[in-house]
C-alpha cells in the first residue's frame, strides 16, 4: 500500500494599504501614473533623505491586528533588511523584525469538512513595497519605475496550520473580507494589492516532524494558488518516493505553464543582516490610541449576518451574498432605510446587481449607484407606476449612470398605464382580434389566456401592469383566480 501524505502550509500575505500617500514620504500611492511620476528623494533612496512615518499606516496595521485577535506590541519599531536589488533603491528595505506591531493572533475558518478551525497568525508587520522592474524585450537592460517604491504594506505571517488548498483559500477569503470591511485595502490578488506566498512541506500522515519546505511566489489568483499547491504537493511527494531530498528554496509559479521553477538566488546569500532602523524613532501605542482604533472598527460579517436575520428577516442565502462585500452590505442597509422592503432590496442586489457585475466583469466594491435611486425604483414598482420589465431596464441605467428613476421614467414615457378604462379598451381589442384563443379559453384551455396577456402588453408597448391585464381578462371570461 502506498503511503499517505499530508501537507503543512503556512502563508505570508502581503497587503497594500489603502493610504493616500506612501509609508515614509508624501508621494501619492495612486496606481497607474507615468513611470516615476510619484517619486521623491526618500522613495528613490537618495543620500541624505530621511523617512517620516505615515500615521495612517500604523492605524490600519493596528486595526487589522485587532480584528484578527492579535496582541498589539505597544512598543514597536522598524528594522533594516539589507539586500541589493535594482527595485530597491536604498539597498535595504525598512521592515519590522524584532518588534512587529501585531503578534499571536488567529482567525477562524470553515473547513471543507464542515467544521471550524483556527488558523494562527504569528505576526503582522509593517514594511515598504519595492519598485517595479520592467524587462526590455530587445535591449540588454531593465527599466525601473519607483512609483510603487515606498507604498505601505502589511505582511501577515500565518502559523503552519493549513492542511489543504481549500483551507488556504478559506483563510485568504477570511483575511480579505476582514481587511475590506476595515477599508484598509481593496485586497485584489489580480492587481497585486494582496499577494500570497505559500510555504509548503509534505510529511507522512501522522508524522510529528515537518518536512523540508519550499516557498512559492507569484500567485495572482485563487485558482493559481490552488493549482500551485497541488502541483507542489505532487512534486515533493515524487521526490520523497524516489528517495531524493526536497531542497529548501523559493520557487516562482508560472501560471501559463502551470509549473513552478526555482528562482535564481540573489547572489546565493540570504543574509539580510537586519538591524534597528536608525532613521526612525520608536512607536509607542498608548491604551487610549488602541481603544480609539478599536472603537472605530466596523461591524464585521458574522455580526452583520446575525443582525440581518433578526432585523430584516431575510433568508440565510441572501445574507451570505449581501455580506460577502462591505459595499453591497452598505447599499443594502441604506436602501432599506429609505424604502423598507428588505427582501425586495435583497432581490435587486442578489439578482440584477450580481448579474450586471458579472456581465461587466467588475467587483462589488466598485458599484457606483446610490441607495436613494434603488429605493426610488422599488417604490415605483410597488406603486405600480412601472412594471417589472421596465424596472429592469431602468435599473440597468441606474447601475451604469446612477440616473434618477422617476425623472428617467417620465422623460422616456415608461410609466405604466393603470387607467382601468384604457386597459379594458386594449384588452377588448385583442379579444376581438384573436377569436381562436377566445374559443380555446371558453373550451377550458385557460393557458391560452397567457397569449392574450402578452398581446395586450404588446399593444400597450410594454407599459401596462401584466397583473392588471390578467385580472381584466379573468373578469371578462368569468374565471376565478
Amino acid at each position: 500500500m502506498s503511503k499517505e501524505y499530508e501537507m503543512v502550509i503556512g502563508l505570508e500575505v502581503h497587503v497594500e494599504l489603502a493610504t493616500k500617500t506612501k509609508i515614509f514620504c508624501g508621494c501619492s500611492t495612486e496606481f497607474g501614473g507615468a513611470p516615476n511620476s510619484h517619486t521623491c528623494p526618500v522613495c528613490t533612496g537618495m543620500p541624505g533623505s530621511l523617512p517620516v512615518l505615515n500615521k495612517q499606516v500604523v492605524e490600519y496595521a493596528m486595526a487589522v491586528g485587532l480584528a484578527t485577535n492579535c496582541t498589539i506590541n505597544q512598543n514597536c519599531k522598524f528594522d533594516r533588511k539589507n539586500y541589493f536589488y535594482p527595485d530597491n533603491p536604498q539597498n535595504y528595505q525598512i521592515s519590522q523584525l524584532y518588534y512587529p506591531i501585531c503578534i499571536n493572533g488567529g482567525v477562524e475558518i470553515d473547513t471543507p469538512e464542515g467544521g471550524k478551525k483556527t488558523i494562527g497568525i504569528h505576526e503582522i508587520h509593517m514594511e515598504e513595497d519595492a519598485g517595479k522592474l520592467v524587462h526590455d524585450e530587445w535591449g540588454e537592460s531593465s527599466l525601473v519605475d519607483f512609483n510603487r517604491s515606498g507604498v505601505p504594506l502589511i505582511e501577515i505571517v500565518s502559523e503552519p496550520d493549513m492542511r489543504s488548498a481549500e483551507e488556504v483559500i478559506a483563510y485568504l477569503e477570511k483575511l480579505r473580507l476582514i481587511i475590506q470591511y476595515l477599508g484598509a485595502s481593496d485586497c485584489k490578488l489580480n492587481e497585486g494589492s494582496m499577494r500570497a506566498d505559500v510555504n509548503l512541506s509534505v510529511r507522512e500522515k501522522g508524522a510529528k516532524e515537518f518536512g523540508t519546505r519550499t516557498e512559492t511566489k507569484n500567485l495572482n489568483s485563487f485558482k493559481a494558488i490552488q493549482r500551485a499547491i497541488e502541483n507542489e504537493r505532487e512534486r515533493q511527494i515524487e521526490l520523497i518516493e524516489a528517495g531524493e531530498k526536497v531542497v529548501q528554496e523559493t520557487r516562482r509559479w508560472d501560471d501559463n505553464k502551470e509549473y513552478s521553477y526555482p528562482m535564481r538566488s540573489k547572489e546565493d546569500a540570504q543574509d539580510y543582516r537586519y538591524f534597528p532602523e536608525p532613521d526612525l524613532v520608536p512607536i509607542v501605542i498608548s491604551d487610549e490610541w488602541m481603544a480609539e482604533v478599536k472603537a472605530r472598527q466596523p461591524e464585521f460579517r458574522e455580526e452583520k449576518a446575525i443582525r440581518y436575520a433578526e432585523e430584516y428577516k431575510i433568508p440565510e442565502y441572501d445574507i451570505d451574498i449581501i455580506t460577502s462585500s462591505k459595499k453591497l452590505a452598505d447599499i443594502f442597509e441604506e436602501t432599506v432605510a429609505i424604502c423598507g422592503n428588505p427582501k425586495k432590496v435583497s432581490n435587486w442586489l442578489m439578482v440584477e446587481t450580481m448579474y450586471l457585475l458579472k456581465e461587466k466583469g467588475i467587483d462589488a466594491d466598485r458599484i457606483t449607484f446610490s441607495p436613494k435611486n434603488l429605493a426610488n425604483l422599488i417604490q415605483l414598482v410597488n406603486s405600480k407606476a412601472i412594471n417589472g420589465n421596465v424596472a429592469k431596464e431602468v435599473f440597468a441605467k441606474i447601475f451604469d449612470e446612477d440616473i434618477e428613476p422617476e425623472a428617467y421614467v417620465r422623460e422616456n414615457g415608461l410609466t405604466s398605464v393603470n387607467d382601468e378604462g384604457e386597459l379594458r379598451k386594449a384588452v377588448e381589442k385583442i379579444i376581438e382580434a384573436n377569436p381562436k384563443s377566445v374559443e380555446d379559453i371558453k373550451a377550458g384551455k385557460v393557458k391560452a389566456m397567457g397569449f392574450l396577456v402578452g398581446q395586450t402588453m404588446k399593444e400597450m408597448k410594454g407599459k401596462a401592469d401584466p397583473g392588471s391585464v390578467n385580472a381584466i381578462l379573468r373578469e371578462i371570461f368569468g374565471i376565478s383566480e
Binding site: 493610504t19 493616500k20 500617500t21 514620504c25 508624501g26 508621494c27 501619492s28 501614473g33 507615468a34 513611470p35 516615476n36 511620476s37 510619484h38 517619486t39 521623491c40 528623494p41 528613490t44 537618495m46 517620516v52 512615518l53 505615515n54 500615521k55 495612517q56 500604523v58 519599531k77 539589507n82 541589493f84 536589488y85 535594482p86 522592474l133 520592467v134 524587462h135 526590455d136 535591449g139 540588454e140 537592460s141 531593465s142 527599466l143 525601473v144 519605475d145 519607483f146 516562482r252 528562482m263 535564481r264 540573489k266 547572489e267 546565493d268 546569500a269 543574509d271 543582516r273 534597528p276 536608525p278 526612525l280 524613532v281 520608536p282 512607536i283 509607542v284
Partner: protein, 97 residues
C-alpha cells in the same frame, strides 16, 4: 588583537556588500574588523542583564506625518540622478528574479 578575521569571512562580507577588494585592502579590512570586534568584546564585559536594548539614541517617539499628499510630480529632477534613462524610467543592467 583577539579576534582574527578569516579570508573566507572577508570574502563573504565583500560579496554581501558587493565590493571587490584588492589583497592589500583585504588585509587592512581584516585588521579593522578585528579591532571593531575587540571593542565589542570590551562592551560585552558589562553586565546588561535586565537592561532593555536601546533602539534609538534620542528620547523621542511617535514622530508621524498625516496621510496627505505633499509631493508633486518631480520626475525630471529625480531622473536627472539616473546614470541612464529611458521612457521615464531608470535603466539598469538586465535583471531577472
Amino acid at each position: 588583537m583577539a579576534n582574527i578575521i578569516s579570508d573566507e569571512t572577508i570574502e563573504y562580507v565583500g560579496i554581501l556588500a558587493k565590493i571587490e577588494l584588492s589583497d592589500e585592502e583585504k588585509e587592512q579590512a581584516k585588521k579593522d574588523m578585528g579591532n571593531m570586534l575587540d571593542y565589542i568584546d570590551k562592551l560585552n564585559e558589562l553586565d546588561t542583564e535586565g537592561v532593555e536594548p536601546m533602539s534609538h539614541v534620542f528620547p523621542v517617539d511617535n514622530v508621524f506625518r498625516e496621510d496627505v499628499v505633499t509631493n508633486g510630480d518631480d520626475r525630471e529632477k529625480i531622473l536627472s540622478n539616473a546614470p541612464e534613462e529611458k521612457d521615464g524610467a531608470f535603466v539598469v543592467p538586465k535583471t531577472f528574479d
